[in-house]
């Protein structure tokens, strides 16, 4: 039982460290080179998150009803409609395709 609490505390510490290290180290500095690096890192990070959340299943890439939902939500995003609409369309499409297949 003690082991569970030690592990819980240690993992929380690691997660916290990953979140606060950059702001603590950077302080008020905004190095231009870092800004330029982050400008391109943001779209790349987002695209990587999209790929892993849409196709990822453990160590495999799979095509399942999520893709239909994300594609439908993407069309809403392309039309520059609100986020809520995009999410509702994505969830409903995925649920529908899943129910039909």
């Amino acid at each position: 039982m003690t082991g569970i609490w030690i592990a819980t505390g240690a993992v929380a510490a690691i997660c916290t460290l990953m979140r606060v290290s950059a702001p603590l180290l950077l302080g008020q500095r905004q190095p231009p080179r870092l800004i330029h690096a982050l400008e391109l890192a943001v779209p790349a990070l987002l695209a990587a998150l999209i790929v892993t959340a849409t196709f990822g299943s453990g160590h495999r890439l799979v095509i399942d009803p999520r893709l239909a939902g994300v594609a439908a939500g993407g069309l809403v995003a392309l039309a520059r409609k609100p986020l809520l609409l995009a999410l509702v369309v994505a969830v409903a499409t995925t649920a529908l395709v899943r129910a039909l297949t």
Binding site: L40, A44, L46, T52, G69, A86
Partner: protein, 254 residues
């Protein structure tokens, strides 16, 4: 520097920025409640008791790291393995938090405190919000909303379990990638943004089968960051000084 302009009404605006983040996060938070219920159910079934899983959700606030910890504890593995997994899964937060703190105000400690509720989703919401909002405050609104949903869901899961098959039965598992896509759409203003996104997506896809979870996203961000840093124009030839990250693309009107 652009935040100096509105110091007069700063208090009213800060509350608004907080609510902006909270409101944008709500639809995703609904899925987080269900995800939390699934985690709580599995953790209780693995013999972690009722309190520990809830404390995990409230303090680690990272589904992937918590599932890694759960697997290690269930199989009586070493805590070191769980720590290594948690670090590898979340090292991308270094880059994400750096992007947030370059477009927020406040002291070093305040910025760090705001980043305590950083997740993929709260970070994405922050990038998707209007640039007139303070990134740090949007992040806190979005992050606290998600933390509440995730912890509450975990508590429900450990106490009553879940009769649901999780988010995948309802289609809610598509909400998170759809959120990322919606935010990305607003980020693509130049050709090189599109190139970075395509490159990042392809790299992540290529790494998923061979790299540990979390690494594909990190690698995509790092590769693009290196590319961006190498392209940095010489000092003084650009107008980006004073704004930051990527949120300055849509300047507030007036």
């Amino acid at each position: 520097m652009r935040y100096r302009r509105r110091e007069g009404s700063a208090r009213r605006l800060s509350n608004r920025d907080f609510l902006v983040g909270s409101r944008l996060m709500l639809p995703v938070a609904a899925g987080d409640v269900l995800d939390g219920m699934v985690f709580g159910t599995l953790a209780a079934a693995a013999g972690l008791g009722r309190l520990a899983p809830v404390v995990m959700s409230a303090t680690s606030f990272s589904g992937s790291a918590q599932y890694a910890l759960l697997a290690v504890l269930r199989d009586h593995g070493s805590i070191g393995a769980a720590l290594l997994a948690a670090a590898a899964l979340n090292v991308r937060y270094l880059a994400m938090s750096a992007a947030v703190v370059t477009s927020t105000t406040g002291s070093r400690w305040l910025r760090a405190a705001r980043c305590l509720v950083l997740t993929d989703e709260s970070w994405a919401v922050t990038n998707g919000s209007d640039t007139s909002a303070d990134a740090g405050r949007v992040l806190v609104g979005a992050g606290l909303t998600e933390l509440l949903a995730w912890t509450l869901g975990t508590a429900v899961g450990v106490i009553v379990g879940t009769g649901l098959g999780g988010t995948s039965q309802l289609g809610l598992d598509a909400a998170v990638p759809a959120l990322f896509l919606w935010v990305l759409r607003g980020q693509l203003t130049q050709r090189r943004d599109v190139a970075a996104a395509l490159g990042g997506g392809v790299l992540a896809a290529a790494l998923v089968p061979v790299a540990p979870p979390g690494v594909p996203v990190l690698a995509a961000g790092l590769a693009a960051a290196v590319w961006g840093a190498c392209q940095a124009p010489s000092k003084g030839s650009t107008a980006v000084t004073g704004t930051a990250g990527s949120r300055h693309r849509r300047e507030p009107g007036g």
